[in-house]
Subunit: 194 residues, 2 copies
């Protein structure tokens, strides 16, 4: 395929992902109708479903895209930073990576849709691996506590992330959670505040 | 009201709560039909709805009953023990307090039902208060870390509980979460492993 055409395809795919992200976040999976997806992306249904087989595939591509970006942040800054980003996004203090909407929808569908649960398992493994790699790197650098297995600390951070997503999904107040994340971050470090 | 009659009412109420608990846990709120509630409690719909106005009231009474029992365990043994009970219940190693079913259903309805969210707010406050009181007692006994506010530690433990409930609700493997709860428990203690 000629280079220009490949670039064009990728740009169009990106346009659809970015536009539909806010649409899913705002209306939920069921509420994101084809008409709303057209409005949000500025493209016709023909163009959208030329790039993605159906709405399910579009949503999964979006969730996968987000998981990849989350994994990038985890690799650079750790999973606690992903949680801080979620908090900031919620409070509207930063434009945010806009992960929350998709993450909430993923969370909801995992509970209600067995097929989706299986398809999602592979994707979520990406985040687990990035978290584990980051922690291993921190341990090698001497920043991580060394009395607990890296796998246990990975599972610990993922459990807190799930609690945070759930907390936000239930619309509970989150203004006071910054210091809670400090406790979480500190509890995987080598020394507690010393 | 004569004493014997009061005792009878209380026993009947208890019979309905205990029977319907497993019914809600097994079939979910919508799936717990009146017919199934009759079978589970061994009572007629007339008898059931003599004691509880409707299914909604019955479920709320059940959730309230559970919150009270959870608060009792928190007061005696702390919120981490409640989490360990949830894990044991899931793995089937102990008969369990059978909280998980109701807690999952509460969690699901909080996400989807705004009215329920408001009615639940008061009930959940009971657990928060018990957790805070227990932590304060631990601090007074010198067992709790004293460099972080008790409210922050309370919010921290509740966030982990929510993560655990969410994790179990999604049907994810939980066999390896015991050591994770050790990390959680230790991170609120005065000294880390020393």
């Amino acid at each position: 395929m000629p280079r220009v055409s490949q670039d064009h395809l990728e740009a169009r795919r990106r346009q659809i992902l970015d536009g539909s992200r806010s649409c899913f976040a705002r209306f939920g999976y069921e509420g994101a109708t084809v008409r709303r997806l057209e409005e949000a992306t500025g493209l016709s249904r023909g163009a959208i479903f030329h790039h993605f087989k159906d709405k399910e595939s579009l949503f999964l591509a979006l969730a996968e895209d987000d998981a990849g970006r989350m994994a990038d942040v985890v690799a650079e800054q750790g999973l606690v930073q992903v949680m801080r980003d979620l908090l900031d996004e919620r409070s509207g203090t930063t434009p945010g990576a806009d992960w929350l909407g998709t993450r909430l929808e993923v969370s909801r569908r995992l509970r209600t849709d067995t097929d989706f649960r299986q398809r999602w398992a592979q994707r979520s493994e990406q985040l687990t691996q990035a978290t584990r790699a980051r922690l291993q790197w921190q341990r090698d650098s001497g920043n991580l506590r060394d009395d607990v297995d890296v796998d246990v600390l990975t599972a610990y951070l993922e459990l807190v992330l799930e609690g945070l997503v759930s907390h936000l999904a239930m619309g509970l107040p989150a203004d006071d959670l910054g210091p809670v994340l400090d406790v979480v971050e500190e509890s995987v470090r080598r020394h507690r505040g010393r």
